[in-house]
Symmetry: C2
Subunit: 194 residues, 2 copies
């Protein structure tokens, strides 16, 4: 059923017996959000880490001047939420909004603590996941400094072709750290230049 994609995903990182899977199931909830709904809102405490079974989300924040900045997108088989808020139990910096109807598998903070106790393997699993996320984030910092806007766009398009299809262009611009107008100009130039 719906949890299958999460189970497959976990099994790519650690072994799980069917015994362990049924334990796990007790602590996960499936939930579906409509397009436009929020999984987390900036200022609230983020109560869940969410694994996307289907759909697409946009993580963004509003800075003190009122400008919106896209932090990341997430689609099937990605995790989403505000991890900083989730682990510290402090108000979230980010909004997580569904760009499509989105079904997720959620761990609440309490349940996740129980899962760590009962299934220590998952401690390892989450370490591996977060390790990868950290490395990816660090590489993004590096790209943002060493590449120009046009190159960042080309990288994004190549790395996440599916996401580019599914999210509006002005959000892609924000993710890249540029204005929607400038992205439009970059695209015009790319079409002309080949």
């Amino acid at each position: 059923m719906e949890l299958q994609s999460l189970i497959n995903y976990i099994r790519r990182h650690v072994d799980l017996s069917s015994q362990e899977i049924s334990t796990l199931q007790e602590y996960v909830n499936i939930r579906t959000y409509k397009k436009g709904q929020y999984i987390v809102q900036q200022g609230d405490i983020c109560h869940y880490e969410s694994f996307i079974i289907s759909g697409c989300t946009n993580t963004y924040f509003i800075d003190p001047e009122g400008n919106e900045h896209v932090v990341m997108f997430a689609i099937e088989d990605w995790w989403t939420g505000d991890l900083g808020s989730f682990i510290s139990r402090q108000p979230a910096d980010f909004n997580v909004q569904c760009l499509e109807k989105t079904t997720v598998a959620q761990f609440s903070y309490q349940n996740l603590q129980i899962v760590y106790k009962e299934l220590p393997k998952l401690e390892r699993f989450f370490r591996l996941i977060i390790q990868n996320a950290f490395v990816a984030s660090q590489k993004r910092v590096v790209r943002n400094f060493s590449l120009q806007a046009k190159e960042r766009y080309l990288f994004f398009r190549k790395q996440y072709p599916e996401i580019e299809q599914r999210v509006p262009q002005y959000l892609v611009a924000s993710y890249l750290g540029i204005t929607k107008q400038f992205l439009s100009k970059i695209r015009a130039e790319l079409i002309l230049g080949g």
Copy 2:
């Protein structure tokens, strides 16, 4: 002795019996680098995760155009190395160079795998550490997009006053993603403007 700072650090995150500490000690090596020496070089495989007991390091990379970009600094009680290379056993993207004489406690890849087996608590410990590192990295992405160079510099100065004292200004500029000339102008303006 020298390992004490690492032990204290770990104990801030998980409990360790003296039994466990002596197990741990078998798998850690202390090593001292001179100023200017490299702990990792771009293109090599990063064999160690290093905890800094004393000293200061600069993590940077050279992009295809030959420009250097500082990724991070690290001082006492921080971890350093190229985690992406360490976990994937692939060539490092980064150089880690000592800006001062630097003493570190190192885990080799093999030893760390053993430690995870023998002391599952450390699986948890490293998950917590990396979680924090990931959250910090994500926030840095956000700052880089929402703040101007001058504001990023002021944030850096406030957040890491000690690091600013210890590393040359041109490396700070690179860390902030600006040229050394422009940082110099920002500083001139700050001094005049109060």
